[in-house]
Symmetry: C2
Subunit: 376 residues, 2 copies
DNA sequence: CCCATTGCCGAAACCGGTTTCGGAACAAAT
DNA sequence: ATTTGTTCCGAAACCGGTTTCGGCAATGGG
């Protein structure tokens, strides 16, 4: 009983003339022979401090290596100079090869502003709610980066209700700008990539092109599918509902959906995938049927996962600059917290085509392909 | 003037609007009709508060949803209840598939203690120094997790000099416990895995076993190599310096080192790799020579990267539970910061063998293998 | 019954910053 | 010479907690 309680000890001689050796604003003030309020206002650019003293304070602060403690400032200002990123961990594919680069971008951008990044993880939507609430209540961050936005995103609702700044990596509402009319976001235009993929395949001679989409829960899935159909439209190809598959979130599901497409009476000679993972899964389905990727069936992916350059044949894909995404998101979020209007903090960038060996002119027509599959 | 003088309003009872809606310790104190010092000490388990009032305070705190601001506490205690993780970003292979799980483990453990995780990245050893110094000076964290320890680690020197708590993921000094005699660490025993790999291969019938090590800058490289040679010793195989290669940090370097081994007059019929990435690189070298992985040449990796289960033949490897590593590291670090002696906060766990198809009985003897390679 | 402990709590100082308010010094206007 | 502004800075309150210190009441010992 009472084992872990703190016992008061008398005569605890503090051997600390200046524990930690930190330079505080008081040290700085007494060194300069002025009040700490003047020092504070000088460093924070108040207009009622003369230019000369401001310079003097700044030089001395520099010389003594003074750094205000953000948490000491926060107690009055309410700002901790930190942004938070909460990763959701219940996704089918937990291995995110881009995370390190994304973090590097975000941390570097934050650091440039003198801010830091706190990170947390959530196991489910509900846990996400708990985690966000806790971070907000304890004021661990002044704003949030929301990766992988969903069509209707519960995180957005929560943060919006609590009035906490956030920026989305991705759009919501299929990009219809209803919910997000006063929200900031950064995104890569997957729809443009999908459209370009179709155009590319058509110009290679393909007439029947399949599509394997991703988890419809995420907003990007819808945008990419729309991009694909716009590609069909732009190339005057007839859309065929049979050629549109959805919901391939993993490599294995990519295999499954590809099988379905290739078993059609009129199979596609080329397939566009919303994600590289699904496209990598396609290799298995294609080779299982005795077909060759890039000749019998052309494959184009999206994301630029590292493995795409190591599979044989190497995967043609649209590469996303994840590091830059992190950098832009952090930067835009900090600016938003500092007061810039959110609806002016939006950026849409393009993915970069990486031409490799998984696509090319069709070796067979769709009919011939069907026969070859049949015989197998 | 006097505009800021708030005039007292009669009906202003306890349920005041309270900008921001947060419950502060003052609210709690006035709600309980006791001083805030009593509340504070009650919540912090001081022995001079009676059990009954302590319970009462805790219940009320719970009911009102009171959460102390860690940065408000920090101003007096010097503790922000956060641990930091600084990732180094200049490594050859920037794609770390384990990062998300590692973070999940660390965040969850920290969260269980009511702590948080702040993250940052460094581009070089020098940048690492800068980043750490900044985080320390601004007291953004109370301690650090140091991933991927080097043989002599500059981070350790810095933190040791500044007296900042840290825990290493990995050991230093080849595990000789010189520098680390009063440091805490968590590690996976790669040396045991390497030793077991040799034993396994010998029992499969292999007589000449090669080894491809990793970057000697990192401590684990030495431990794993020593584990390998201990495996040779345990199986009474004669060590051959020609069969020991070092420094394969990437897939491509794995390919290169494998080529060297297979071009020997007496090539190995099995090769153990310190990392999966190098082992995956081996596939290219082996198939290029017209050989079959798992029959002509057995391959065993270490790490358990996701790709290992997708390559053909699937890679036999020692799987590391990265999520648990993050969890243990965070947990041990928090306990250390809370006062437990560092030299009692050490854990060594084992990697888990995953038997797949990249190893098996040797199809040929070393001499026969050499001839087959020659003919190619 | 008195005195010394002990248990328990409140008042106030404190942590390192920010922000408000008032006033001194000086210049310009009347 | 007085009034009116400006410019610039110091004193003090404040933020939300923690910790020190002292004191009151109850208890126990002689």
């Amino acid at each position: 009983m009472n084992t872990n309680r703190i016992t008061l000890v008398k005569g605890q001689v503090s051997s600390s003339p200046k524990i930690g050796g930190r330079v505080t604003i008081n040290d700085l003030a007494s060194h300069l022979c002025m009040s700490k309020s003047t020092v504070s206002r000088a460093l924070n650019g108040y207009s009622d401090i003369s230019e000369s003293t401001r310079k003097r304070v700044e030089r001395t602060a520099q010389k003594l290596g003074y750094r205000p403690l953000s948490h000491a400032q926060a107690i009055r200002t309410g700002r901790v100079r930190a942004i938070a990123l909460v990763l959701q961990n219940d996704e089918p594919d937990k291995h995110n090869p881009f995370l390190q680069e994304f973090l590097a971008g975000a941390c570097e951008a934050a650091s440039d502003f003198g801010w830091t990044v706190t990170i947390s993880t959530a196991k489910s939507d509900q846990d996400m709610d708990t985690v966000l609430t806790r971070l907000i209540e304890e004021r661990k961050a002044d704003g949030f980066i929301l990766p992988r936005t969903k069509v209707t995103d519960p995180r957005v609702r929560l943060l919006r209700r609590l009035g906490v700044p956030y920026i989305m990596f991705g759009r919501t509402d299929h990009g219809q700008k209803k919910i997000e009319k006063d929200a900031s976001w950064f995104d890569i235009s997957g729809e443009t990539a999908m459209q370009n993929a179709v155009v590319r395949l058509v110009s290679l001679g393909h007439q029947r092109i399949g599509y394997v989409g991703s988890d419809p829960e995420f907003n990007y899935s819808h945008l990419r599918r729309e991009g694909f159909t716009q590609g069909l439209h732009a190339t005057k190809l007839q859309p065929d509902p049979d050629l549109l598959r959805e919901g391939a979130r993993t490599r294995d599901e990519g295999t499954t959906e590809t099988r379905v497409l290739l078993q059609l009476d009129q199979p596609p000679t080329a397939i566009v995938y919303a994600t590289d993972m699904a496209a990598l899964g396609a290799y298995k389905a294609i080779t299982e049927l005795g077909l060759t990727v890039g000749k019998d069936v052309s494959v184009i992916g999206y994301d630029g996962v590292p493995e795409s350059q190591y599979v044989r044949p190497a995967l043609t894909t649209y590469d996303v600059d994840t590091r830059m995404a992190g950098e832009r998101l952090a930067s835009l979020l900090v600016r938003q917290i500092r007061g810039e209007p959110a609806d002016q903090l939006r950026e849409l960038q393009e993915a970069q085509l990486v031409e490799r060996d998984s696509d090319g002119p069709p070796a067979l027509s769709s009919t011939e392909l069907a026969e070859k599959i049949q015989k197998q």
